[in-house]
């Protein structure tokens, strides 16, 4: 029973998290956004202590580490691989002692990294973000292919549900990290069950402090009278937490999966409070959702999109290249580079949500995989506040459209050598024409062939949205680009 409830909840959580991360549209962040916001570390970094963190502590104290079983998507993913491993080799686990040195040692390192804001460690080991990177890097492109196919069907039938999106690798580093995370965890889970959760994972270790506290609370408990010492429970404990000989369960590592309860033929294990055994409340087990990821994988064949027929010929357009920015540009709402680095867990939710292809993971080691803005494929449009709506960690704080127009995330810089007005001798002003705040003035400039109009930036008005950089005709490097502001200026 416990196992069935657990699996049902896992399917629900996994479906919601995955759909959210895939960015399936249908206002998914409005109805599934909560599942990211209840994740432990993002909530902690968002200083969402009440109610989220307290709720998790209470849940863990009362029910054991159910968080790790039904809320953490990385845990659920490992359960899936562990289950596959169990198919290959039955009854493969045995009790192991808790590795306190590694556990606490690593928690210490992690805590220190959070305090000093050392992003490579926090982002790499934060479990929810590790999972979301896998979805974002590996599954999202597949989903996007499906989406684009649906969009082409829509276009052919004059429907408007799906719109085509660009598919592109935003960061090779993040892609590699995601693949490695997936492979390593799949291997570990296949062989050793929840070994990662019980030695490395900082959330697992933190919650273990609570779950091991004796007292009132539901835990898996032995009924010594009934136990026949068959050892089936221990052999099927993926947390390696059951010692059947001594009749003990290490509650610091038990993730309340319920496998042992099902395996025990003698009804010697119960999930009860210390005193009165009672049934946990039933859940509608009919409520089975569907798994998207696997289904999408079948549709990788490239769908040739009908190209527009043009007779007059089109000039080739060279791709834009990102300029080397001295200060990276972080999204409006992220307050400052420092605030952002400290709070962002690099979960990539904002990256996958960005409709303008502006956000992508940083490759800078100190900001590893945390998103930065760049404008080769689009610019931060004035009407969009999506990233601030979805961020679960408070790294990008919620802002309104009105607020957005007053947040200066950077400022534009003109590169005279690239400007087509001087280089090609044409009149332009596309940057000034599209500046949403009117920060670019066209001023007279004495060029070799007489007076021409070139852009000048009013730094006070510039908010760093990147419209000028994106729409600048100079390629591959724009003649006007955005330099980030270390601390966002308001007003």
């Amino acid at each position: 029973m416990l196992r069935k409830i657990r699996i049902s909840l896992q399917v629900v959580t996994m479906t919601l998290v995955t759909l959210l991360l895939l960015g399936i549209g249908f206002r998914v962040h409005l109805w599934a956004g909560w599942v990211a916001k209840i994740q432990f570390l993002p909530a902690l970094l968002a200083l969402n202590l009440i109610p989220v963190i307290l709720l998790h502590f209470w849940l863990t104290y009362t029910f054991g580490r159910i968080y790790c079983s039904v809320i953490c998507p990385l845990g659920i993913m490992q359960d899936f691989f562990s289950w596959l491993g169990g198919k290959a080799k039955k009854n493969r686990f045995s009790y192991a002692k808790e590795n306190k040195v590694l556990r606490y040692g690593f928690l210490g390192v992690f805590a220190l990294a959070i305090i000093i804001g050392f992003a490579p460690v926090t982002t790499l080991f934060e479990p929810y973000s590790a999972y979301s990177r896998i979805v974002n890097s590996l599954f999202k492109p597949l989903y996007d292919l499906l989406n684009n196919w649906l969009a082409s069907m829509d276009a052919a039938n004059d429907r408007y549900n799906f719109t085509e999106v660009q598919i592109w690798t935003r960061s090779v580093t993040t892609f590699v990290v995601a693949i490695l995370t997936l492979l390593i965890l799949a291997f570990l889970a296949w062989r050793k069950g929840r070994i990662y959760c019980n030695t490395i994972c900082p959330v697992g270790t933190t919650l273990s402090f609570i779950s091991r506290i004796p007292g009132f609370g539901f835990r898996v408990r032995f009924d010594k009278d009934k136990c026949k010492n068959c050892g089936m429970c221990e052999k099927n404990c993926k947390a390696q937490a059951i010692d059947f000989k001594n009749g003990t369960v290490d509650y610091s590592r038990c993730v309340v999966c319920g496998d042992c309860l099902d395996k025990c033929k003698f009804d010697a294990l119960h999930y009860t409070t210390k005193k009165a055994p009672s049934e946990s409340k039933p859940v509608d087990t009919e409520r089975r959702a569907f798994l998207v990821g696997a289904a999408v994988a079948g549709t990788t064949a490239a769908f040739a999109q009908p190209q527009m027929k043009v007779d007059g010929g089109l000039a080739a357009i060279e791709d834009k290249k990102a300029p080397k920015r001295q200060t990276p540009v972080t999204p409006p709402g992220s307050v400052s580079a420092r605030h952002f680095e400290k709070h962002c867990t690099a979960c990539q939710l904002c990256v996958s949500s960005c409709p303008n292809n502006v956000l992508r993971p940083s490759t800078d080691f100190m900001k590893l995989m945390q998103p930065v803005m760049s404008f080769e494929r689009g610019y931060c449009r004035p009407e969009c506040t999506r990233c601030s709506e979805v961020c679960p960690a408070g790294a990008i704080k919620p802002i309104s459209r009105e607020e957005k127009t007053t947040i200066h995330v950077g400022h534009a810089v003109w590169i005279k050598e690239n400007c087509v007005v001087l280089r090609d001798g044409v009149s332009c002003g596309n940057c000034a024409r599209h500046c949403p705040t009117g920060a670019i003035l066209m001023i007279d400039h004495e060029g070799p062939n007489g007076t021409v109009q070139v852009p000048a930036v009013d730094e006070n008005k510039c908010i760093g949205c990147g419209a000028c950089e994106h729409l600048c005709p100079a390629r591959p490097f724009s003649a006007i680009y955005v330099e980030g502001n270390e601390m966002h200026q308001i007003g």
């Binding site: 969009a151 007059g312 332009c428 002003g429």
Partner: protein, 466 residues
């Protein structure tokens, strides 16, 4: 309102506001009229009602958007109270500056408009103004003879008067889920004998002018005018929606509407005075995209954008009064200036406004034949594709137009924007036109390609940021 819009508003109203502000600061309690340069230098224009000889100010005060405490109207603060003090002040200012027509209804402002209007007007001699109110028996509970009579009697009570100068059958031509326009009209006015009862009240002097306001099915409008011709009922005035867009395009954006040109001409040739509502088309004609504001400002830099619409609405000689639902003192001051005196629209200006109306209706097709002489654009644009998509959207009637509150508008907007991306890759869209002019001499049609592309880009941008 986002910053862009805000900046735009500031831009268009800068002159106006600065005049108001400086006038306020000068210590005079009442703001001085906005003079601009061309308007507000003389006396209010009046029109004569041929039935009663009333000299009616061309500006009528619509009492349906009264200010509420805490700012704005009921739309902003649904639970607030009407700001009676402000209403009093504004009515005082209006009367002082020659406005003498006040139009209300038992259903305006959650049913509180008549009461507030009554309080404000009762402080002035009854013969110094005309009151218009309506028999607004929309709700089935008010269809009975008794309820409708009660509604009229209550109007008199709320307005603190024993007669109404102008009484309207409120919004004939509508339908309900179960009743078509004829059935609804019969239910509201004929079966219960209310129309005849109102005629009796008119004969008894409790109503001085009897008319109707019209929206919707033109058959009802035509039927009532036929009755007028046959002598069955006499309409002293009729209230219609008219502005420079509705003149020719009312039925283009809403098939239930009728072009104002038809309505006005039908009334005018019978000598029935016309009352104008919606001179700004729900505010839309005051809030225009940049490329339209620019054209207006190029003609008259000092004239507020809305003034063009008010001048237009008042120009026809058959118009008795133009209603404006003025929430803020600034609106009132500006409108008083517009009509003191009215500067009628000249034939040349009329042509200009008709062109603007075309642009507002997005009917400005680019005469591109897709000959591709302009191609390739050195900056990668697909010029004929942009024009082609835009033109096709117009000719298919797929442009988002009409009421922005309506679901249809948002559907059309979504289709237009998605279709734009589908038909033209983002890098080849109008936003990338730098205006180098390379294409311009190549066009055999003489299209000013960069200007047209920028216009389309402005339009797309405006849709995106809505």
């Amino acid at each position: 309102m986002d910053r862009r819009e805000f900046i735009k508003h500031i831009g268009s109203a800068a002159v106006a506001t600065s005049v108001v502000l400086s006038a306020c600061k000068s210590g005079d309690e009442k703001p001085q009229p906005l003079t601009g340069i061309l308007d507000g230098q003389g006396e209010m224009t009046y029109r004569t009602n041929p039935n009663t000889g009333d000299k009616v100010s061309i500006l009528g005060y619509g009492m349906m958007r009264l200010p509420v405490e805490g700012g704005g109207t009921f739309r902003d603060h649904p639970d607030a109270n009407i700001d009676q003090e402000m209403v009093n002040q504004q009515i005082d200012y209006a009367l002082e500056h020659g406005v003498n027509y006040f139009d209300t209804s038992p259903v305006y402002c959650k049913g509180l408009s008549e009461h507030a209007t009554g309080i404000a007007l009762a402080r002035h001699p009854r013969n110094s103004y005309y009151i218009a109110t309506k028999l607004s028996n929309f709700s089935p509970s008010t269809w009975s003879r008794e309820a409708s009579i009660n509604m009229f009697e209550n109007s008199l009570k709320e307005l603190q008067t024993d007669y109404v100068d102008y009484l309207l059958l409120h919004s004939i031509g509508g339908t309900t889920k179960d009743l078509d326009s004829h059935q609804l009209f019969d239910t509201r006015y004929m079966d219960n004998g209310i129309l005849d009862w109102l005629v009796e009240q008119k004969n008894a002097g409790r109503i001085r002018n009897l008319g109707f306001s019209y929206h919707g099915d033109v058959e009802i409008f035509d039927m009532l005018l036929r009755w007028h011709d046959e002598g069955r009922y006499h309409w002293d005035f009729v209230q219609i929606q008219m502005n420079y867009v509705d003149w020719h395009y009312a039925d283009e954006y809403n098939t239930r509407n009728t072009d104002a040109s038809y309505l006005y001409n039908e009334l005018h040739r019978r000598g029935i005075p016309v009352v104008i509502m919606e001179p700004l088309l729900g505010g839309r004609l005051a809030d225009q995209p940049d490329y339209i504001v620019k054209q207006m400002k190029e003609r008259e830099p000092e004239t507020p954008v809305a003034r063009w619409a008010f001048r237009y609405a008042g120009t026809q000689e058959g118009v008795l009064v133009v209603l404006s639902g003025m929430t803020y003192m600034e609106h009132l001051v500006q409108n008083v200036a517009t009509y003191s005196p009215l500067r009628p629209i000249t034939p040349k200006e009329d042509e200009f406004l008709m062109k603007i109306a075309e642009e507002i209706m997005e009917l400005k097709i680019v005469p591109c034949t897709a000959c591709n002489y302009c191609m390739p654009c050195p900056y990668g644009l697909n010029i004929p594709a942009v024009f082609g998509y835009y033109n096709k959207s117009i000719t298919d009637g797929a442009m988002p137009a009409g009421n922005r509150e309506a679901k249809e508008y948002w559907e059309a907007r979504k289709r237009f924007l998605i279709g734009y991306d589908r038909n033209i890759p983002a890098l080849r869209q109008a936003s990338h036109c730098i205006g180098c002019g390379h294409c311009k001499p190549e066009c055999p049609q003489g299209i000013d390609i960069p200007t047209e592309l920028h216009r389309i880009d402005d339009y797309v941008e405006q849709l995106k940021t809505l």
